[in-house]
Amino acid sequence: MTAIEIRNVSKIFGNYTACRDVNLAIAEGEFVTLLGASGCGKTTTLNMVAGLEDASSGDILMGGRRVNELSPVERDVAMVFQNYALYPHMTVARNIGFTLKMRGVSPSEIKERVEKVAAALELATMLDRLPAQLSGGQQQRVAIGRALVREPRYFLFDEPFSNLDANLRLKMRAEVKELHQRLGVTSIFVTHDQEEAMSISDRIAVMNGGRIEQLGTPEEIYARPATRYVATFIGSPRIELAAGEIGADGSIRAGAATIPLVAGAGLAPGRPIEFGIRPEYVTLGDSGIPATVRLVQPVGPTTHVTLDWEGGMLLANLPGFVRLNSGMPVKAAIDSRHLLIFDRQSGERLSH
């Protein structure tokens, strides 16, 4: 069943269009991430779902009902903000309980529910502290507690971890995912961190220039990006693209290099393209494209190797530690089944 549906929604600020014709249907219990660089319209979209901003056009439906004119409370959403947005003058207990107080819940019940949530989030010993006396991670947990205590129908997260340090971010990511698995509340999560989006989501909507460029599971987005933009935005290390064209024999030609494609790929010869391959499908060996090692960056489980070849740059992600020096000539073999090929004009991916 569809829990949240965004239909042809646009948002215009003066002469700036933040979102144009956004369409998105989210199933009950699903965890969907809006992913994109800053200014792509992801937070504006979230704010419109929350009821904090009006849509300039289009409809927002929740539980099958049009909610454009409803306040956040009437939509039954809870939201976790980027800067936590805790009330600085209230203790942890009052921060978490404020929403219940606004709903006229009795003080004894507020106390009980706040304590329950605090226990679940390991905040039980901090209920009397002020936000300023907490660490960033604790503050973020209070913000999550504030969203949880109400048992809302929908959770909205606006870059909730971007102010945390790297370790804490990983920990909170896991906590939110576990929370979602346990409660199954329909959630929309906004982030600019593609790895965070991949690891936490059922589906990802990659946004660019106010539009959803691709909507799909993390695997679809990664392995079958719809456009050049999605391909380069997703994945770390980043994919490098090179310009080329389809040769008469159906292979890719880039300068003097020829990269054979699987027979019967069916791409019209002479078509100008861009192509690239995820670094894990590149191996170094006795045959392949001649290249020179530019940079070797071991990260532990793998080593990122940056290569220069005739078509530009190529990244290889090799297992373990490798003995390579910059300037060394190598041969890079690529698994052409995993080549990503894009039309040079439209940027759309061509299947082969």
């Binding site: 904090l52 959403v77 805790l86 009330y87 606004m102």
Partner: protein, 282 residues
């Protein structure tokens, strides 16, 4: 200039900064110091050229004389308290919601309205004194504490609105969004969230308004006769037609500035934070 940065500098830099601060402190405090000294000097020593500051000339006589004739001063202080508290309290009660509306609600042309409010303060007092006098005397409210309070309210309200609006504009909007998601309407957000975190600028605005009203002389002179006279007028009366008893005048002045200084000391931290937050971000 924070103290942390002061500590970082070299010795020369420190000396220059500290000397500058000392000079500024002296510059600001000297009149008050001189006020206190002259309130403690006998008339003869005070008007000598140069003033004779030898210890035997110091006396509390000025204070005892002023306090003995306390009726006028006492009434003046009472009137000043009423006028100042009334105009300050009302300026806050009316000004805070107005400032919040102008800062946050979708009020059309909020900036223009705020500027108009400020513009009312740009008229010289003398320009509105005569019309104001005519209005108030037609209403039969000359020499009335409350009418003076209302006049002061009209001066204080714009100042309060500007100080608070500047602060409200600087509150991260995330907090108010969070309140909206938590189910708080505009009034609940204002009451439970915005006002409590605005205590520093509220105190600063309150002290500022109070001092403005407490020290005001010109309109008090025009709009009062006897019953409603405020402290500055009572002090001025020590300047007689034939002679001015400076010592007594100064003693009365010391007594009258005491509440203001007390206020400033008590709320020192809030005032500094309030002005820093409100005016710089505004």
């Amino acid at each position: 200039m924070s103290f942390a940065r002061l500590r970082e500098g070299g010795p020369l830099r420190k000396t220059v900064i500290l000397a500058g601060l000392a000079l500024f402190t002296f510059w600001s405090a000297a009149p008050i110091l001189w006020l206190i000294i002259s309130s403690l000097l006998e008339q003869k020593a005070l008007i000598a050229q140069p003033p004779d500051l030898s210890p035997q000339n110091f006396t509390l006589e000025n204070f005892s004389t002023v306090l003995a004739a306390a009726a006028a001063l006492g009434r003046g202080i009472a009137n000043s308290l009423i006028v100042s508290l009334f105009s300050t309290a009302l300026a806050l009660v009316l000004g805070a919601p107005a400032a919040y509306a102008l800062a946050r609600l979708p009020v059309p042309r909020a900036n223009s309205i705020a500027f108009l409010i400020l513009a009312t303060q740009m008229l010289p007092g003398i320009a509105i004194a005569i019309p104001l006098f005519i209005v108030i005397s037609k209403l039969g409210l000359i020499d009335n504490v409350l009418s003076l309070g209302i006049v002061y309210l009209s001066f204080n309200l714009p100042i309060v609105i500007w100080i608070l609006r500047g602060f409200f504009l600087g509150i991260p909007s995330g907090i108010e969004k969070a309140a909206a998601v938590d189910g708080a309407g505009i009034f609940a957000t204002f009451w439970y969230i915005v006002l409590p975190i605005s205590l520093p600028p509220l105190s600063a605005a309150a002290v500022f308004a109070f001092v403005e009203a407490w020290n005001e002389f010109f309109f008090a002179l025009i709009l009062t006769r006897q019953q409603a006279q405020t402290v500055p007028l009572v002090i001025a009366q020590f300047a007689g037609q034939y002679q001015t008893v400076f010592g007594q005048m100064m003693a009365a002045a010391v007594i009258s500035v005491a509440p203001v200084i007390l206020l400033a000391v008590l709320f020192r931290n809030q005032i500094i934070r309030g002005f820093a937050d409100g005016m710089m971000k505004g």
